[in-house]
Symmetry: C2
Subunit: 204 residues, 2 copies
DNA sequence: ACCTGAACACCGTTCAAGT
DNA sequence: ACCTGAACACCGTTCAAGT
């Protein structure tokens, strides 16, 4: 729940670790989470063995990279819980996570896999995302803004599916998927919630 | 549009080609489209060079593998165009394609990438899928069963996103994504269209 | 006309040897 | 305590040599 028991590192080791993370972020942004770790090490100015010394595998590296970012995301989610009208809060949360999960190509897959995999360094984060979704859902349902049996797991699936869509289809397509789906989930209720452009061509 | 100009092959070459396709199908089903081609060749009883002789790259192999299957799918789509009430036809079409695109792990990505990539062996098929979706959409809209500005591209995105979801999240999650999204897209119109279980807990 | 398989390139991961 | 980089394994792809 709290910070991992980060043991003290020798000064040079910490410096290497930090540079590895910085370069990994840069490389993953450009080439996705499957980029050669070799090039990460080279850019960080260390041997490949050093990278493995700090991070036992690629997932651990991605996990460390996301830890801070995740904290910020969760805090944002918590704030939305009270700061915005329930329906809008849920919508904003979904877009925020999609944005987050689209940081690197391949990240959506890592996250999706992480929910069911206890071993994953991102497991806890995925559970947390689902939890926050559940709370936002409960709020929205409480004011009658959300219809049907939508669950946190559904929202988690949608967020990852949309992030994946960003990697493979034209830019707006992912947003349209989210907009259409959310719009179907939300009832046009007391509080207005416009996911898409203003188009109210509806009948009955 | 019609059969590719398949040149006559020497008997042994044709036999090899067929076995390669059969084994590729088996291997891809088990290990996904990223499975070692080496093992495909070995199982087919030929050298790796023979595989590359028949299929210049992995995409070509996947493409050939899907050509027949795609024909069947398109025909099904065409039939739905006239055989079922528009809303139901669209729903069935989406589930059929999701099923199709989930045949191998990684296939959804190949398909999604194929829509925008002229070079892809699956490009034409992806365009076709979008076209059929467009026609089904037009029908549904014509009877007032479909709301908003849903496009064939939206349906294509949803289908692939759902197929991808199957690869990474618990089984029903993909179906739930489709059900929730489609249910939001479809209006409760003259002709009944129940995507999910019967739950009409609604207000207004 | 087609097949073979050695050869090369590339990358993940380990570990003995260094400092 | 940490780093180095050679070494090994694995896989995609090519191509000279065979039939």
């Amino acid at each position: 729940m709290t910070e991992p028991p980060r043991r003290r590192l020798r000064a040079d080791a910490r410096r290497n670790r930090d540079r590895l993370l910085a370069e990994a972020d840069a490389v993953f942004r450009q080439e996705g989470t499957d980029a050669p770790l070799d090039s990460v090490a080279r850019r960080a100015g260390v041997a490949i063995g050093t990278l493995y010394g700090h991070f036992p595998n690629r997932r651990a590296l991605v996990g460390s990279l996301l830890r801070e970012r995740n904290q910020a995301l969760f805090q944002h989610g918590q704030e939305l819980l009270t700061s915005s009208p329930p329906a809008q809060a849920l919508i904003r949360w979904v877009y925020a996570v999609v944005e987050h999960a689209a940081a690197y190509q391949g990240l959506a897959a890592v996250l999706a896999d992480g929910l069911g995999d206890q071993e994953s360094e991102l497991h806890a984060s995925c559970v947390r995302m689902t939890d926050i979704s559940d709370q936002l859902i409960a709020n929205a349902r409480a004011v009658g803004a959300l219809r049907r049996d939508v669950t946190g797991a559904d929202i988690f699936a949608l967020m990852n599916a949309a992030a994946w869509t960003r990697e493979h289809l034209p830019l707006e397509q992912a947003d349209r998927l989210v907009a259409l789906t959310m719009d179907g989930m939300l009832t046009r209720a007391p509080n207005r919630n416009t996911t898409t452009k203003q188009d109210r061509s509806q009948n009955s």
